[in-house]
């Protein structure tokens, strides 16, 4: 006779538990963790190159670069002033908490204030795997088209911050910003949005200011916890 045994839990539970351990490592040191996701070519690495030199004036920045192959991106992040570690996923289309855990072991966590994780370029799989970061950031870029919130609803729902990159190209490509915004708002109302161009520098100031203030607030909240008797 067959017996039914209830096993109610999230299918991603194993990854979620490792993500929680990663988060605890960051929280113990007051490090703000960001997970940057986007399709290939949206400008994830370019944004990191734009913001790291300016953030590095006040903050110690670590970067974990996820790619299927090569260490180009870690070299670019290091050249921008970050302590960078490359993860080569060897074909896997996304980062998982386990990979980030190994990369964290290679970073001087006690000497960091901000950790930026650049996920593998992909609008599907990264949305399924939590890494333990505090904020998920999606980079959308104008040449990708205004239909992406409709084609990838899961990704647009799962982020706290949206960066629209390459806005300098708006006059040259067909991109209905209003239609794009309506789709985003239906899926993720009130998501914090930055419109930037790494080429012209537009919008980068406010993005840098916001990341800095989030990191400072994170560090301050940890400091308060520590002095509690």
């Amino acid at each position: 006779m067959s017996v039914r045994v209830p096993v109610v839990e999230a299918i991603t539970k194993a990854n979620d538990e490792l993500a929680r351990l990663n988060r605890a490592k960051l929280d113990a040191r007051g490090i703000l963790g960001l997970n940057i996701m986007a399709s290939p070519g949206a400008g994830k690495t370019s944004i990191i190159e734009c913001i790291v030199p300016r953030l590095s004036r006040d903050l110690r920045v670590g970067v974990i670069e996820g790619d299927i192959a090569t260490s180009f991106d870690a070299e670019r992040a290091a050249a921008a002033g970050a302590t960078a570690v490359q993860i080569n996923t060897g074909g896997s289309c996304h980062l998982e908490a386990q990979m980030v855990s190994q990369a964290l072991d290679q970073l001087p966590l006690d000497a960091l204030d901000l950790l930026i994780i650049e996920n593998v370029g992909n609008l599907i799989c990264p949305a399924t795997f939590a890494l333990g970061t505090h904020l998920n950031i999606l980079v959308a870029s104008v040449p990708e088209g205004d239909d992406k919130p409709y084609k990838h609803p899961r990704m647009y729902r799962g982020v706290q911050v949206l960066i629209i990159n390459k806005i300098d190209l708006l006059p040259y490509v067909r991109f209905d910003l209003d239609r794009f915004r309506r789709g985003v708002s239906a899926l993720n109302e009130g998501v914090r949005t930055f419109e930037v161009s790494c080429t012209s520098g537009a919008g980068i100031d406010s993005l840098v200011d916001w990341v800095r203030s989030e990191a400072v607030a994170r560090r301050a909240s940890t400091a308060r916890v520590e002095v509690r008797p």
């Binding site: 006779m1 067959s2 045994v5 299918i11 991603t12 194993a14 599907i124 799989c125 609803p153 239906a186």
Partner: protein, 134 residues
């Protein structure tokens, strides 16, 4: 291809639940997968055969309860599935853009069906087993 680690996670959890219940064999795995979850049940099943080989869960079939993408209008309470529509999430009943996603992100293991050692002794088929005479 992210279903490979997902299938590994399900297998680990299923084997643990099976061991806890003293199961000889897992015959069926019940999962709930929303259309927005980004998980393909077919892919999970595809990996299952090779991943579960040599375990009590090998040969188990999947019962998948699919949950469609559903939005609900905040103005008229109409629930609708926006998939396949034109590129818009506006309410088809009243045209409002004030909508919320109400279903589709589900992605969980629900239950397993198991056989206990008594009814799954290798080489024995309970259906043809001679009954003990009273």
């Amino acid at each position: 291809m992210h279903e490979l680690p997902i299938a590994q996670g399900i297998l680990e959890r299923v084997l643990k639940a099976a061991a806890d219940a003293n199961a000889a064999r897992v015959t069926r795995i019940h999962i709930i997968i929303g259309d927005l979850s980004g998980v393909s049940a077919e892919c999970v099943e595809f990996y299952w055969d090779s991943l579960s080989r040599g375990t009590p869960a090998h040969g188990a079939t999947f019962h998948v309860r699919r949950v469609p993408f559903e939005m609900t209008c905040l103005d008229c309470a109409n629930a609708f599935n926006p998939a396949g529509e034109a590129l818009a999430y506006d309410c088809p009943a009243c045209g409002s853009a004030r909508v919320r996603t109400t279903h589709g992100q589900e992605c969980c293991l629900e239950a397993i069906d198991i056989e206990t050692p008594d009814d799954a002794t290798p080489g024995r088929d309970p259906a043809t087993e001679p009954r003990a005479t009273p």
